[in-house]
Subunit: 417 residues, 2 copies
């Protein structure tokens, strides 16, 4: 099959620019082209982390997870990190025994550069499935990146891990821990396809706070639930999804923590959640073919989990997503999606608003309903759908998605032949 | 919102013509226009069934099921049927208390025409959600249809229940019960949208065999599992899906049956399954925007249920479906879909064939693999994907779907604005 690379225009939902991202003490980054991508495009990111760095991680639930995911999952057990290597243009999935060989070759070379044990090197790969990863190119490029480390190479790193992402994704917040400022910086890549094969979501978040790995893992798991685990592009799950949170401990001024529930971490939690949600939203805003950013909020469900299941049933429904692409406030399809979620609803008390305007309630259309303001809302880029499912309980959830357009078909069907 | 009716060309996957369908003793049909559809298009079907008719049914699992589904589910408890009324151009879903009033008005009028109790009248509706059904039009039209009954109006009836279906769907088989011939005829409508709102699947199957309702229900439930419950267009579930099987008992020549497992019913089961599968395939072949008919077969899973879950994960994956639309033998996406199904797989023994040609095995690409014959297969209209998941067990399943094309977006996004 011949490849037919296409230059895709930047998503209409992209932020105006990459954010200002100051350094995070204990984090040095470098990015460049190692030859995996054609035309000398940037495809490799290398990060050096201070010696005390702790790490937390969340990975794809796919049962055909990539070799890099398997490695990082295992390395996470040590709770410590010294380096991170991420390549685009090769997912290293379904590559047989060669897959783990490529990972081991990569981490040994990185460990060599940073004078640490291989088990402290984390890896992630994104790109084509089923093709052996030419890891020798990565190995050859690491020394050059090692001599090029900078505390500010956030944008370049975010660009190196892009596949068919149309813009680099970064977010930064300052958090307060007991009167001491710490930084939280994150970069991510989203649902893009490289060459042709796979949508993968990767995110790497760095802070100079000093937190034990166990605390970090709890904070990350909580924050993922309402950010990366609350978005969907097309319901497909990558074999390579990876979110890693590194804490360098370079900020030695705040008191120690042993418990993630400690109130002293409240602002840190809040800012971490902002960074994660900001990155997750950017991933949706770069969804393949996306022309609308959609927020789906559910209230009045039996439990939060039930609310999330209903929200995803709406957010993953091709009929709902195509209706929104067509700027059609088609609430009948929302009713359908609520019904197929398999969670308890009270049809006679179901109420739906679009853009804050009630469109259906008490089990039926609203008599004499004026569609004009709703039609106006549908023409915008940010669409909000809220559903009260009427079981009278307090379960609630919010998820985000994008619409399903011709652009999605273009990217995914017409890419190679 | 203004409606923008579009005339859609017949699906490229349609059968060449509507099948020859002889009469089924005890079944009389009539179809016509009652004014629900514009331009005097046929929108109503009325069926009279012999007095001894038994009935079985399977309905949507949606928790926001339509009023007609609620009625028919209840009527099914009696096990007997004398009439069936089906309208298109109005789903009668989410219409508040008016919904059941419309159903009751309809069945009372039909019961009046057929001189039977209302509880022996079955109903189904398909069309727009959330708009009150103008059932008075149905009531007014029933006497005219009653005087127009014919044993051969299969095609006209199949046409009356179409929404955005591009062809009427029928199937017919003769079955042998202990040396006695009985007929099995079925009609169906598929995943089409009327005005704009809802994809609904309806199927009605009729036989002159004499079978108690309990036996019929078992036969139908078994047969649905490998026909209508083994197809998917876009993973969305209608609020109105209904499959009814009527046995008029007009053929009095075969011996009685009290048990669905009786070997004397083997040929009947086989032919019923053929009718159901034929209709289910026609629904897929008329999937919105479909250009390829896709068969997904899974073997070597832990159980049949696990195999079906994996098969549906592939068949519902937008990335797989768009790849096939692009005639791309993208087996990496099949690996991804297998992985996200949540069922046990042995990646190192996973094997995939496309069009009967091995494309991946033993956890990786096949070295030196020649893609030419696979590329040739992808250009055809009938695509077959087979996956051995390698857990060494005997679980297997086959499901059918269609590709995801620009046509789907056209129909569902661009239909009204």
């Amino acid at each position: 099959m011949s490849s037919k690379p296409t230059e895709t225009a930047t998503s209409p939902l992209a932020p105006r620019s990459f954010p200002e991202m100051p350094g995070v003490e204990g984090v040095l980054l470098a990015a460049g082209a190692c030859g995996l991508k054609k035309n000398d495009k940037s495809d490799l990111m290398f990060v050096e982390l201070a010696k005390e760095t702790t790490v937390a991680g969340v990975f794809t639930q796919s049962l055909t997870a990539s070799a890099p995911v398997q490695w990082s999952r295992k390395a996470l057990k040590g709770g410590q990190a010294r380096g991170l290597v991420v390549n685009s243009a090769g997912a290293n999935v379904f590559t047989g025994p060669q897959g783990m060989e490529a990972v081991e070759g990569t981490v040994e070379a990185a460990a060599d550069q940073l004078s640490c044990r291989p088990s402290k090197i984390f890896v992630a790969s994104t790109g084509v499935i089923g093709e052996p990863l030419a890891f020798e190119k990565i190995v050859s490029a690491l020394p050059g990146l090692n001599s090029d480390f900078s505390p500010l190479a956030w944008k370049g790193s975010a660009e190196a891990i892009m596949t068919t992402d149309t813009f680099p994704k970064g977010a930064s917040r300052k958090a307060d821990i007991g009167g001491v400022d710490v930084m939280i910086n994150g970069i991510a890549k989203g649902s893009g396809m490289i060459h042709p094969n796979m949508a993968t979501m990767l995110a790497f978040v760095f802070t100079d706070a000093a937190l034990p790995a166990s605390v970090l893992q709890t904070l990350l798991a909580e924050s993922v639930e309402t950010s990366f685990n609350a978005i969907t592009i097309d319901s497909d799950t990558s074999t390579s999804d990876t979110v890693l949170l590194f804490a360098t401990g370079s900020c030695q001024n705040h008191r120690p923590f042993t418990n993630a529930e400690d109130a002293g971490l409240d602002d840190f939690k809040d800012k971490l959640s902002q960074v994660m949600t900001d990155l997750a939203h950017q991933v949706v805003r770069d969804g393949e073919g996306a022309s609308k950013f959609i927020t789906v909020s559910i209230g009045g469900a039996e439990t939060d989990a039930a609310a999330k299941a209903i929200a995803f049933s709406i957010a993953n429904s091709p009929l709902v997503k195509t209706a929104i692409a067509g700027e059609d406030a088609n609430w009948g399809r929302i009713v359908m999606a609520v019904g197929k979620a398999g969670e308890k609803v009270d049809v006679d008390h179901l109420a739906i608003t679009i853009g804050g305007i009630p469109v259906a309630q008490k089990g039926g259309a609203i008599p004499g309903f004026d569609e004009t303001p709703v039609a106006e809302h549908m023409k915008g880029q940010d669409i909000t759908i809220a559903v009260e499912v009427g079981t009278g309980d307090n379960g609630k959830a919010t998820v985000w998605t994008c619409d399903l357009t011709h652009g999605y078909i273009d990217i995914n069907a017409d890419y190679r032949s």
